[in-house]
Amino acid sequence: MTGMIGTRSASFILALMVAAPAATQEADNVVALRVSDTDRYDPQRSTALAAAEVLYMVGETLVTLDHDLKTVRPGLAERWEVSPDGLTYTFHLRRDVSFCDAKPFTAKAVVGTMDRWLDPDFPGVSKWKAGKVESVKALDDYTVEYRLKQPYSELLYQMTQFNFIIIDPDQATALKDDFGVAAFNGTGPFCFQSWTPRTETVLTRHEAYRWGPAFMTNSGPAKVGRIVWKIVPEEATLAAALQTGEGDVSFAVPPWALAQLQSAPSMQLLRPQAGFRTHYIGMKITRPDLTDRRVREALSLAVDQAAIADAIFFGEAEAAHAYYSKQARDFNPQMNLDAFGYDPERAKSLLDEAGWIAQADGTRMKDGNPLSLVFYGFTSESERQMAEAVQGDLRKIGVELKVELYDPTIVWGKLKTQDFDLYQMSYPYLSAGEAMNLYFLSSNMPTPNRMNWADPKTDQLIDAGNRAITPDARYAAFAEAGAIIHDAVLWKPLVNENLVVVAGPRLKPFKPHGVSGAPLYNGLDLELAK
């Protein structure tokens, strides 16, 4: 009897020991780790990258973007036509698509999604991405007509972004503010099961899913049964959790930890084919010391961005010499980018030319004032290191930088003010045109056009690029605008950061997707090793 109890308790303990790790790693489960959570999972109400990561798995867009981030591919729409005047887009929808609750997907959902988003009373975000919309109508159950008031060359590219994910409008009406919080009914390869804010989001396989985009290896259904998105707020803890197997995959691993993970034989470092995120220093040209272009060029030439890429990003970034990547659509290779290299000697002579004379202690003075600039930035580890590196570089040419780093909760408010000379940031983008629309239009002052770049010619060219009907006309306009803003030296580009996905031994290697900084994309290609 005692022996039996002994055996039983022994096997119980054994079962517990086996079950303990299994509790986090169920057979058909993939655990993705990230640092921060979203405010809600409503594609038309959130700007958070954390929302995009999950929404791409549970919902879909009419058109998708191939791995090169340049070629538009079919999504929920199997084909489309654009009228010669560039004003009317007609989308022909797939007929085999259904939502997670088995309701068929029709043109009604597309019209409902767009109407809700563009309703002036609806607190929707990023509405500009939709262009100047005249109307979105269902011609029949599987045909949607998207009419614009003026041509918008970026429309199809923007439509690949998560803000265009088609929702179930009936559910949105029923749930109101709880939509995307309590539930989300989408057409993606996974279904939204539960969300515990700042802890985890659980997705389960959409069993009926068969309509994955052609550029994914798997067209459906998904190969893993469940995806758990866990929040690990501390970068170092997150890196450690990947090594201990608590998590299977993450793309929030800090650069300094990548070198260490790379040496672990079981860890895989995967990189998307393309992906655009550029770190830069913006210069507020209306500040007294920065009105002189020569001073701005000197600041730009003094900062060694290659050292930042090598040292702070451990090589997981390339030194940037333009405001956006050379691989981005509509990048103009003819632009003069001499002002964005590293040449401290030339920087010094430019300051001399501009009347800033070096004193015995190295500081630069003009009319009795030292060249001292205020710099705003973020408190996160790698951004702090970059700020210090820039500060150190500028000190070498005699420029004092007063660095003020703020927590993400207050920094955005601070960046709306006119109280700083330089600021540091990174931003994701799809194309040169998108970057210009965001940062360099005079109508976007004081933010995100924090440089106060108000140039009618730039405005006119960006507008022409947006209205262009042919790719050539679009390129011509954006290329010229690009040359103007680069010539003015409004930013010092630092690095183009590589998106790196770290996957543990439980996952088979897969090809990450660079869209919107959400490299797991719809999760179709995730597969367990055994």
Binding site: T379, E381, Q385, E388, Q391, G392, D393, K396, V403
Partner: protein, 292 residues
């Protein structure tokens, strides 16, 4: 040391007691070592601009995180700056912060404590205020204040001073209450001395010794708090060297380059330990009744 007996010249007696204290301190080897160590650190911190082998702000990313040895005795930090230089300047900042904060804290704390003991009507409200301040952990209190006041040396000193003030106020009140019961206080009142004179000439001077001893104990605590705020990023802005923030910047690279965090943490540890040992010795050597 007996302040109660020396009615006419209480301060003179306290002074001779202090010199005796230093003589007795010299016989305590642990305290002596702590004292010598602190003297060396303070001297090194004060003379940092003369002693430091490199410029503390001269960055060189391509030389970052070099291990100890060669030109850089203790290696380099995350920006390629000489770590020894950074530590010297860091100790300078941290010690100055600790000293300024303990001065602010003792000024506020002593004022509250003496006022509470002298004016009995104020005792209730003042000491309840101190109780409220004490009910927050000092790190939380310091964090909240530093976040409220914003970045910079002044606001950091105020935040640290305010978080060290409450326990000092308690000690000050306790000693002052004892002194208030002495005859010379009554005598002073009878001959018509003003409140200000009574507090300054008799109350403060007779409470000074235990408060100073207590502050020396708190000094280590304050340095630790200053370093903790620096570690959490609420301290001073870059490129100022501060021991807590040096430890924090090295934390991410603890596997790649353990020397940065280790050296800074060890320095904080030894400074705080020496302060505490010395404070303990002071306490033991003064009248044990002064601190319950």
């Amino acid at each position: 040391m007996n302040t109660k007996a020396s009615v006419p010249h209480p301060t003179k007696s306290a002074g001779s007691a202090r010199s005796g204290l230093f003589r007795r301190l010299a016989r305590d080897p642990v305290a002596l070592v702590a004292l010598l160590f602190l003297i060396v650190i303070v001297a090194a911190a004060v003379l940092a601009p003369l002693l430091a082998p490199f410029d503390p702000y001269d960055t060189n990313l391509r030389m970052r995180l070099r291990p100890p040895g060669g030109d850089h005795l203790l290696g380099t930090d995350t920006q390629g700056r000489d770590l020894l230089t950074r530590l010297l300047f860091g100790a300078r900042t941290t010690l100055a912060l600790g000293f300024a904060s303990i001065m602010v804290g003792s000024l506020i704390g002593t004022s509250i404590g003496l006022a509470a003991a002298f004016y009995r009507r104020l005792e209730g409200p003042l000491m309840r205020l101190v109780d409220i301040m004490l009910s927050f952990p000092s790190i939380l209190f310091g964090l909240a204040l530093a976040a409220m006041l914003g970045v910079g040396m002044e606001s950091l000193v105020i935040a640290l001073g305010l978080s060290t003030a409450p326990p000092i106020a308690r000690v000050a009140r306790a000693t002052a209450t004892t002194v208030m019961q002495t005859e010379y206080m009554d005598g002073g009142r009878v001959i018509g001395l003003s409140d200000a004179t009574l507090i300054r000439r008799y109350l403060l001077r007779n409470c000074a010794a235990p408060i100073v001893v207590y502050c020396s104990l708190q000094f280590g605590e304050t340095i630790l708090l200053a370093a903790a705020l620096g570690f959490l990023g609420l301290g001073l802005q870059p490129p100022i060297a501060e021991l807590g923030s040096i430890a924090a910047e090295g934390r991410s690279f603890i596997f790649l380059a353990p020397h940065v965090s280790t050296a800074a943490s060890l320095l904080i540890f030894t400074i705080v330990l020496s302060c505490n040992l010395l404070g303990d010795a002071f306490r033991d050597l003064t009248d044990p009744r002064l601190l319950p």
